[in-house]
């Protein structure tokens, strides 16, 4: 049977992809950010999962203003890196896992989550930057990836509670897949940042760290954080953190912390990173 063995949370700032692609990841500015991922890279090299279900948001790349799916799952064979306006990132194609993806999609719909199913889409920095942070610059990504795109741009975005519940439903779906697969769920985006308006540049170290605390152990308090609190406390783009709750929900009743990293700033954004494992 397939099983979820770990969850990873990580920011997905596009500038981090630029740093990797241009060989700057160990300079004075980026070095402290990337050093916080060293533990994870070594750990993943020793225990590479078969499949990563990667929760992210599209930044006006695959989806324009026309169609706005709240939850979309990529069921295709492969996904190309998107041209975000300056050419695609020089990273490998992302290879999907259609059997598991379709199984999850079907199971979620039966479980009252009305997913949008995507066969063809390009994947932007929201998905490829976390892969670069965890795996560096391989010739091919060492895992299959199921993209799960969440609308966190056009309001109302899904509630934190709904995201957590989706994670719980993903765990049930994975557990009923007959093949023996090691699956991780990654929640990406965040942490505090605001990219627009006169309040741009808002960061909130205290709130971000309290949020990370809430994902460790058996607390369910983060489910109830309303959108307005993310907006007031963490900036207009801090709402991306609801995607971390899908990862957390997928890990079950209780988690234990394997690794934690926090750094300010990367461009306009606070960087946060967690590695969690489910416990009985």
């Amino acid at each position: 049977m397939a099983r979820i063995t770990a969850g990873i949370a990580s920011s997905h700032v596009p500038l981090l992809g630029v740093a990797v692609d241009q060989g700057k990841s160990r300079d004075d500015y980026f070095g402290p950010i990337f050093a916080g991922y060293d533990w994870t890279r070594e750990w993943l090299a020793a225990s590479t999962p078969d499949v990563v279900l990667l929760v992210y948001n599209d930044h006006a790349s695959a989806f324009d203003a026309n169609i706005i799916p709240t939850f979309a799952i990529g069921c295709g064979e492969r996904f190309r890196p998107a041209d975000e306006g300056w050419g695609p990132r020089p990273v490998p194609e992302v290879i999907g896992h259609p059997d598991l993806a379709w199984h999850i999609a079907q199971s979620l719909i039966l479980d009252d989550f009305d997913m949008t199913i995507i066969n063809e889409m390009d994947v932007d920095h929201g998905l490829t930057v976390p892969l670069s942070m965890m795996f560096g610059q391989p010739a091919a990504w060492p895992v299959r990836v199921i993209p799960l795109a969440v609308n966190v741009v056009t309001y109302p975005v899904p509630s934190g509670n709904r995201c957590w519940a989706l994670g719980e439903a993903i765990a049930r779906a994975v557990a009923s897949f007959p093949d023996d697969l090691n699956v991780q769920v990654w929640g990406t985006g965040g942490m505090s940042h605001q990219l627009q308006g006169p309040r741009a540049g808002l960061l909130n170290r205290e709130w971000d760290n309290r949020f990370m605390d809430l994902l460790i152990g058996d607390s369910q308090a983060a489910r109830a954080i309303p959108h307005i609190e993310y907006l007031r406390e963490t900036g207009s783009e801090g709402i991306e953190m609801v995607m971390w709750l899908i990862m957390r929900g997928a890990l079950g009743a209780r988690t234990r912390l394997r690794h934690r990293h926090y750094h300010i700033p990367c461009s306009n954004t606070a960087i946060g990173h967690l590695v969690l494992e489910p416990t009985e």
Partner: protein
């Protein structure tokens, strides 16, 4: 959590210096954002750079929206329904970084904004609520 959409949306207007991208803004900005999206294609970027007026003539934008695009007035574009991830296609085509473009929406020049970020960013204190001042 409120399930009253009116109360839910009303709270967004109490956040200082922030335009939350609501359905109302998404409607007003639909053509503007789709114009921005067109700059994802290299051939369209070339046409845009060759003549902004000619390129804009092909899009059903309001005169205000066209003027704000030409002026790269991003706060105004937010007011007119633009979303930052779509507007990013304009400043990416201009060759301007995200952080520099973002700084133009604040009351700081780019070096000052960048230094604020290095110093820990804009603090939440006093920036959470217009009415409450907290």
């Amino acid at each position: 959590m409120t399930h009253d959409i009116h109360a839910y949306l009303a709270e967004f207007d109490d956040i200082p210096g922030t335009r939350v991208y609501t359905a109302k803004r998404a409607r007003a900005g639909y053509q503007l954002n789709q114009f921005c999206m067109s700059l994802m294609k290299a051939e369209n970027r070339e046409r845009w750079k060759a003549g902004e007026d000619d390129y804009l003539a092909g899009w059903a934008l309001s005169d205000d929206q066209k003027a704000a695009v030409k002026a790269r007035d991003y706060n105004r574009l937010l007011d007119l329904g633009g979303n930052i991830y779509f507007l990013a296609k304009i400043f990416s085509t201009d060759g301007i970084s995200f952080a520099e473009a973002v700084s133009t929406m604040t009351d700081m020049d780019f070096p000052t904004y960048r230094q604020m970020m290095m110093n820990g960013g804009r603090p939440p204190q006093g920036n959470r609520s217009i009415k409450g001042g907290w």
